[in-house]
Symmetry: C2
Subunit: 215 residues, 2 copies
């Protein structure tokens, strides 16, 4: 390989991570506020440049932890973004991933070396983001909807046991439609993605709900 060919120089890889959560019927995405140029003080999807001395998977984990504090989360590839000028400083190809997490069980770093803030944003109220992150986020949302029934992408949202109405509300929030309780339960059990734990949980003044877990 012609390593000295100038055409091969000065390019890098952006790892971009779309972290979603669902809270009280609202789908939210985790954004960080950049404290450096380019796009200083813009909100952006967490992520950053892959180092040349780390595997891609490790770079993903490192970037996510550095920018947000999140660890141990399942990520799925979404797409690749390769427009030559998508980054104003340096030629960067972006690789975009999705993850879903329970916002109540993580501590998001509000400030890091390269970020001055971090927060969950309602996906219907997203500001102008750095780079092409609005486009990346839109694609990620579509992919989330497509994959929600066929992958275990939701497992990180429920690493404990959960009730069926809880799970159903998450599906309904993300897909923005409602399901019949009976049919939903039948489908999930029939597809073999969840199983009964033979435990129940009591809420105040309501009939106890069965607890399920992912297989």
């Amino acid at each position: 390989m012609q390593v000295n060919n100038p055409l091969y120089k000065n390019q890098g890889i952006h790892l971009i991570i779309n972290i979603f959560t669902v809270e009280k019927g609202i789908t939210k995405v985790l954004l960080i506020k950049r404290s450096n140029e380019p796009y200083k003080d813009y909100w952006a999807l967490p992520g950053g440049a892959l180092y040349n001395n780390e595997d891609l998977e490790n770079g993903l984990k490192r970037e996510l932890k550095e920018k947000t504090g999140i660890e141990n989360i399942r990520l799925n590839l979404v797409n690749v973004y390769g427009k030559i000028n998508r980054s104003p400083v340096f030629r960067m190809v972006a690789i975009s991933y999705i993850g879903v997490i329970d916002s109540n069980r993580v501590n998001i770093l509000k400030e890091t070396l390269k970020t001055s803030n971090a927060d969950w944003f309602n996906i219907n109220n997203i500001p102008n983001l750095a780079y092409d992150h609005n486009e990346i986020l839109n694609d990620a949302l579509e992919t989330l909807k497509e994959k929600i029934f066929e992958t275990d992408i939701l497992k990180n949202l429920f690493n404990k046991e959960f009730t069926l109405p809880e799970l159903q509300k998450v599906y309904e929030t993300i897909l923005n439609k409602t399901f019949d309780r009976r049919n939903f339960r039948k489908k999930l059990i029939n597809d073999g993605v969840i199983e009964d734990t033979n435990k129940v949980i009591n809420f105040e003044g309501k009939k106890p709900a069965k607890l399920y877990k992912f297989k």
Copy 2:
């Protein structure tokens, strides 16, 4: 961005293209023989390094044309490969794509600046390939099977009109299973992916077959 950070230097992007065809009941993939180090004289999937002055889509087209002569083909993303040492010379992240084409309607370049040969290989008889291309090819084959009914990835195989038995044989070859003629026709028409052209074609000594085209 810290453009001078040595961690951002010396990495590049491999564009890897899995071109499949189906001939007489055999699924084949297009391989090229490398004439340069590393992996000189190894067979490999066509592709190469993205230039820093071209969009990713253009790099894909350029690499495919340079190494094989193929143009105007629909490609679908498969996966990304980012192990740090997957290339022995330079740190390269690979992005892998799938395309399907009619081998009878293209002229494959047997020799190019960086290749000394090119040929279609039965997917059940693949040699040891350069880099991690065996793994990439296996993933691409799986994705091909998954996507064959949901995308228009086969359109390049039939840019003319075709008969239903022809189309069915392609599906059967790729998926390595057989379908009922009546059900296959019903499904494809019902799904709205093909339409009748109201023409027929005669083969020797057989009942004429209807011609269809993709919508």
